[in-house]
């Protein structure tokens, strides 16, 4: 069915107001969209890694979730989801959940809980082939503890453990390409997206991921106004800059076949993304011009590699 924003917004809310995420936090937008992608007649169980989202969306006795929700620890959202999925299979087998009644198993974590500490458990669950969808809201650092660098932090970003200074231009390493690593697991559906336009790209990917049998993965670039140091209201501008500069390419991989789902009409220079954010401010200081060139070089290389895969 073709995407229709009006119909989407008519749906009952499944990630409610009153959560304690910061004003302008992208994770709230992600969760609302993720839950709209579950068909209204289906239930869901959300397995959440420790992080901003967890402490904000279920602070006793206040849950923001319409559906069942479980948080156990930081590094094990995928393992917890594996257990929920196994229980679901048994209940189906034993007739405790009747035919035609569907429960979708979703896991969600930040880049800390996904790229780093939760990586082993994610890899294990992907390899075992559980029927679940993992959403990563990648905000490029450990935001819950105060913007420490993660393996998802881009090169040159200043984080509290890789601060810029006279001897430092921010993080030394490039971002781990987790999406490609998930593809290498042979998952039937893997996608990268963010929040732009009328949210069609996000919705279609989330829906396809949730309704593809097997372990599927959606990696969502999720700007964080505090950690990235930009005014909260500029959220969409930041997302748009990320995709127009190809810092965050928008694509999907269906059974190993790559497909770009968004290609900028004109690929903008990477500094158009960087200059909007305080975490890259040092890159624009005299003498640091090389950082922007190096960042550009890396984005170009990754983009060409991706285009080759999509051909």
């Amino acid at each position: 069915m073709a995407y229709n924003l009006k119909e989407e917004m008519n749906k009952e809310e499944r990630f409610h107001s009153g959560h304690r995420l910061c004003a302008g936090c992208g994770a709230g937008i992600v969760c609302r969209a993720m839950m709209r992608a579950v068909d209204p007649e289906d239930r869901a169980v959300i397995c959440n890694a420790t992080g901003c989202l967890e402490v904000s969306s279920f602070q006793y006795p206040f849950t923001a979730w319409e559906d069942s929700y479980i948080h156990t620890a930081f590094e094990n959202a995928s393992a917890t989801a594996s257990g929920v999925e196994a229980a679901y299979k048994v209940m189906k087998k034993k007739g405790k959940i009747p035919e035609g009644e569907n429960v979708k198993i979703l896991a969600i974590g930040g880049d800390g809980g996904t790229y780093d500490i939760g990586f082993q458990s994610l890899s294990g669950a992907l390899e075992r082939g559980h029927d679940f969808t993992y959403f990563c809201y990648d905000n490029n650092a450990y935001m819950n503890t105060g913007t420490q660098r993660s393996s998802a932090t881009p090169r040159f970003a200043s984080a509290t453990t890789t601060p810029a200074g006279v001897e430092s231009v921010g993080k030394k390493q490039v971002q781990k390409d987790l999406t490609q690593i998930v593809v290498a697991h042979g998952s039937p559906y893997v996608a990268q997206t963010t929040m732009f336009g009328n949210m069609k790209d996000f919705h279609e990917k989330a829906h396809r991921a949730i309704y593809t049998n097997g372990p599927t993965f959606v990696n969502v670039l999720t700007p964080c106004p505090r950690g990235w140091m930009y005014p909260a209201e500029d959220f969409v501008k930041i997302c748009k800059a990320a995709i127009d500069t190809c810092v965050w390419p928008i694509y999907e991989v269906v059974e190993g076949e790559y497909r770009l789902t968004f290609e900028p009409r004109q690929k903008l220079p990477v500094e158009e993304f960087m200059r909007l954010q305080g975490r890259f401010a040092h890159c624009f200081k005299p003498g640091n011009e090389w950082t922007i060139e190096a960042a550009q070089e890396y984005v170009d290389k990754k983009w060409e590699e991706l285009l080759a895969k999509c051909r």
Partner: protein, 393 residues
């Protein structure tokens, strides 16, 4: 009608699992508990159980998957040892606080280092504060029986706590001994179905599990959890009473062996108790009033009951099969001594750390301990309180 068999402790646990037919088993191998999931895998392959068998990539994930499954509304079990249990540590505490009655079989084994695969209690004792109920066994029969009682204790609405069924690595887990098994139908009837009131997959209402609890709630949540552990004492005895009625074998918090008039006694756990009983018998034949207490339930710790049985002794040796590095005694000693602190008249008490990493414990060694106790009684001097036994030098 009981069935006479010859099984190892691991096979006894696996047999209990087959009979109970839990919904989910999440496994990761580690010596010496590995056989348990292997047997279960074969039951799955042969269609003898309906269990969803998940081969996870670590013990941390094994316990995490159990939490997910248990919260989702089904029975979830796993098994581990040593480093595997330590790797689960974080999620064991989560299991306790989420009040999810997962049942975990532990073939107790030394912790590294040096790396060692043999028996002591350094793994399970390190988890004494995790919120798990801990049941210990002298032999394969007791492991089997403890397992049959485990789910009923853990799932009781007044308890709702996870539970460890502990056996001695290799000594019990691998040694083949005679055992009386119960019939499948009788076990199923005794254990019953698992029907939690709320669970993640319930249609009528959602369930949210595992919140962030600010200071205004954390203390209350912990007190409620502590009360559940206190409640477990009664439930353990009630289930044991029903077990005795159903299957004829009697269990309590501990076995008091020749304690009625004992002057010198040992507090000991697991298979070592069998060896120590021989020493008690031999000493009794010589007219020495020796006795022993074999502790079955370490969590909840039956402090009051233990103190009551020890109060008339003149000297007691607490046998710690784990080194707590406190520089003043092992964990079992600390708890036993603590339990006796308010007795009007209490025995002299020493701690003996022994049997680490599978070091042999012999009848002669046990007699040596009683000899020390006799000396304490004679001289009135306790001497060194914290000592090790069985090491060279």
């Amino acid at each position: 009608m009981s069935i006479r068999e010859r099984l190892s402790g691991n096979e006894a646990v696996a047999t209990a699992i087959r009979q109970i037919n839990p919904d989910v088993f999440a496994m990761f191998p580690i010596t010496p508990s590995t056989e348990i999931p292997q047997y279960v895998a074969q039951y799955v392959a042969d269609g003898k159980v309906d269990t969803e068998f998940i081969c996870v990539e670590s013990e941390h994930s094994a316990m995490s998957a159990c939490l997910g499954a248990e919260a989702a509304g089904v029975r979830a079990v796993t098994a581990t040892s040593s480093a595997g249990l330590s790797y689960m540590n974080e999620v064991l505490y989560v299991a306790g606080s989420l009040r999810l009655p997962v049942v975990l079989a532990v073939a107790c084994r030394a912790l590294t280092g040096p790396i060692n695969i043999n028996h002591d209690y350094s793994d399970s004792f390190a988890e004494r504060d995790s919120g798990f109920i801990q049941l210990y066994a002298e032999n394969n029969q007791e492991v089997y029986d403890n397992y049959l009682m485990a789910h009923r204790i853990a799932e009781h609405p007044d308890v709702r706590l996870p539970l460890m069924v502990c056996e001695d690595g290799f000594i019990t887990s691998h040694a083949i001994e005679n055992i009386e098994l119960e019939e499948d139908a009788a076990v199923k009837a005794f254990v019953g179905e698992y029907n939690p009131e709320n669970y993640l997959l319930k249609k009528e209402n959602p369930l949210a599990v595992g919140p962030y609890g600010v200071s205004a709630y954390y203390m209350e949540a912990r007190v409620a959890q502590a009360q559940a552990m206190i409640n477990a004492k009664k439930v353990i005895l009630d289930v044991a009473a029903d077990f005795e009625k159903t299957f004829g074998r009697k269990y309590g918090f501990f076995e008091a062996y020749k304690m009625e008039d004992a002057e010198v006694a040992m507090v000991i756990m697991g298979s070592s108790a069998g060896t120590a009983k021989v020493a008690v018998d031999e000493l009794r034949a010589q007219g020495i009033k020796a006795g022993l207490v074999k502790l079955r339930v370490f969590r909840p710790f039956p402090g009051e009951e233990l103190a009551a049985v020890l109060q008339n002794c003149k000297a007691v040796a607490v046998m710690d099969k784990s080194e707590g590095f406190s520089a003043c005694g092992g964990p079992l000693f600390a708890e036993t001594a603590g339990a006796c602190i308010n007795l009007d008249k209490r025995p002299k008490m020493i701690d003996i750390v022994f049997g680490l990493g599978g070091r042999d414990f012999t009848v002669d060694a046990a007699k040596g301990v009683f000899n020390r106790l006799e000396n304490i009684v004679k001289t009135g001097k306790t001497g060194p309180v914290y000592t090790h036994m069985g090491q060279r030098g």
